[in-house]
Amino acid sequence: MIKPHRDELPNFDRLMEECEYQTTTVEETPKSAPLWTSIFTGLRQDEHGHMDFVVDDELQKREDIDGTFVWEKLDDVDSKVLQVPSVIPPINYNTEYEAEGFGVSSDLDELEADRKKLIEKSKEVLEDDPEFFAVVFMQLDRVSHFYWNDKELILEWYKKMDEVLGELLEYYDFDSDEPLIVLSDHGFAEFGEGRVQTLPEETPHGTLEGDHHEDAVLITKNIDFDIDQPEDVAKAILDNYGKDYPVHENSR
């Protein structure tokens, strides 16, 4: 959606122009709970073992995840984190935020209200100039579950995400050597287009129009670390702060 519509997405366009842009193909299961956990722990799915929001009918919590998130390792860094959806409700760190609909809404008005509220909260946090800041906007994913075939609506939501980028990049100096990472945990596609099916086409509540796809967006600036898989993102962050990062037994 981004490449063919660059002229309608000025902030994505700027990032693609001024930063390193690549598509990463996720080798493991392209589902949000395990992917965001890998992205922010540096562990692969078989290492952290956190694969679903609900296990044995129990909603999973932070303490159910066997791994240390980067902000927990950055104990001498002023870190602020908003809405990492490894679990539901999503994880915040050193700041508070309550998502509309617990971060798993499927109502367009509620998603829009949450997007706007999260922009304002992010700006409030960025005003304090934290040393490490991470925020996840999940609204586009939720919309894609239900409306993937309505490309006009999907493009409208890409534009809304572009607006999010514009608002937050006001706090980023493109001429600085400050590291920046903008990414998605996965892509989206019609059912059958991805390597593995991760969502059902029918739920007890109706039909879904799209499924997660293994291709994800990755945009970086001032990152001197090779990011090939989701877990490499955490390693890049930890490496930037001179911290040790997980090394796998069978490193690629």
């Binding site: 679903d52 909603l59 609909g101 007890p204």
Partner: protein, 64 residues
């Protein structure tokens, strides 16, 4: 990191010096413990958990 100033009575200040305690780290650890224990107290009600499960099911996340 933001800096905060704390005041200590003389006997505690001496205790800190005598035992070579890293005061910043000590206070950070205690505050972290406190904030984490408060977080774990913020448990979801049964009704909220049910609402989340229903929303996850609607999104297709509960299909197994």
């Amino acid at each position: 990191m933001p800096r905060k100033t704390i005041s200590l009575p003389e006997d505690l200040a001496d205790f800190v010096d005598e035992n070579h305690i890293n005061l910043s780290r000590f206070v950070q650890d205690k505050l972290r413990e406190l904030s984490e224990s408060e977080e774990s107290e913020e448990k979801l009600s049964e009704e909220e958990a049910k609402e989340i499960a229903q929303k996850l099911e609607k999104l297709g996340y509960l299909d197994r």
